[in-house]
Structure formats: C-alpha cells, structure tokens
C-alpha cells in the first residue's frame, strides 16, 4: 500500500523554537508539497518541490523553509516558531503531471505555545 508518512501526529513546541516536520513517501514520486489546514481557509500551499534539491514557494512561505536532499523525503522547517503557526500540517506527493491526484499523509497537528 502506497504511503506518505509524516513523522509526528501531534507536536507541541515553544515560541521561538526551530521546528522540523518530516515527510517520507515510498512511491518514487517526483512532486512533494507542504500545506497547512486551518478552519475556514482550507489547505494553503506553503512550499513544493518538483525534484531533489529543488524547491518553490507556495502562497504562504513566510516563516518557513524546506529541504529535499533525497527524492523520498521533504522536510518543512519553522525557523522560529510563532503562535500563528499553530495549525494542521499536511504533506503530499504526486507523480509528474498536473492531472495526478495527490497522496496525503495523515497530518501533523502542531501547537506553538
């Protein structure tokens, strides 16, 4: 069964901490994405990557960075966590091509206190 695995289901961090959210896919997909989901706002695109070591900003990249050193792994980094980054974070992957649906992980619920 194909999978996108996010390392943590729940995470509580303090304001100002550097936070790493890890995502691994086992489908050999080229594309990987990070979204955050907030009530009433749906899924908002933070960053995406079409290839190893390649990254593109999404719609809300401020306060975040990403790393893709290997094809299967896409990490989201919160450089200095703030309370407004409390959210559900969803990682997804897809094959190359716009028509392919994404496979999502189960999400990481991050709370910044």
């Amino acid at each position: 069964d194909v999978k996108v695995t996010q390392s943590s289901r729940y995470l509580v961090k303090r304001t100002g901490e550097k936070v790493f959210l890890e995502c691994v896919q086992d489908m050999d997909h080229e594309n990987m994405f990070w979204y955050r989901q907030d009530p009433g706002l749906g899924l908002r695109l933070i960053y995406f990557s079409y290839d190893v070591k390649m990254k593109e900003k999404g719609d809300i990249p401020e306060g975040y960075s990403v790393s893709r050193e290997k094809k299967e792994r896409f990490s989201l980094i919160l450089e200095s966590a703030s309370t407004n980054q409390t959210s559900m974070y969803l990682c997804a992957s897809s094959a190359l091509g716009a028509g392919y649906g994404y496979t999502f992980g189960s999400g990481t619920r991050l709370t910044v206190v």
Binding site: G40, G42, L43, A98, G99, Y102, T103
Partner: protein, 106 residues
C-alpha cells in the same frame, strides 16, 4: 487571494438522494481540477479529476462537471450514502478551496 472558492461550508442530504457540491475558480490557467474527500484525523484522499479541456468526467457514483465560461465546477454524488459524509475539497492544480462538509442522513 483565494483562487479556488467553495462558498458552502456545509451540505446535508438524505441517503439515496443526490449531493451537489459546488466550486468556483478565478485562475483560467488551471490544467486540471480535482476533488478530494477528507475524513476526520486523516489526510485528504483523491476522488476524481477533470481536465480543463473536458466538461464532464464520471467515475461510478461520482461525476464532475466543468463550466469554463462560468469558471465553475460541481461534484455530483448519486446516490448519496452515509459513508460519503466527509469534508470535500475542490482543487485547481495545487490550489485548494476551503472545503464543504457533507452530511448524508440515513
């Protein structure tokens, strides 16, 4: 600025009837439109897609209609089942709407 909009936060229908979920978009450059279904505590799962060059795509009980002139698409579920109760997201390429919570009552 949201490029994909789902203006109905919720929809309730009776089992066996048709569910129609609506979605509007502003970006004419989208190549594909996709629908996802999300249960609580799970990530969204891909349901059905439609190319921007088509106006209809059908998969079992699910049909998506695209009206390019109106920049509008809709997902029809016939017949609706209680297991269809979930949040449905419309997406244009990488951009998602806010979601519509569908409740199918037995």
């Amino acid at each position: 600025d949201q490029q994909v909009k789902q203006n109905s936060p919720s929809l309730s229908v009776q089992e066996g009837r048709i569910s129609i979920l609506n979605c509007d978009y502003t970006n004419s450059m989208f190549d594909y439109f996709l629908w996802y279904k999300k249960y609580p505590a799970e990530g969204p799962t891909f349901l059905i897609s439609i190319s921007s060059i088509k106006d209809k795509n059908e998969d079992g009980r699910f049909t998506v209609f695209l009206n390019k002139s109106a920049k509008h698409l809709s997902l029809h579920i016939v017949p609706s089942q209680p297991g269809d109760s979930a949040v449905y997201f419309c997406a244009g390429d990488m951009r998602f709407g806010a979601g519509t919570r569908l409740t199918v009552k037995p």
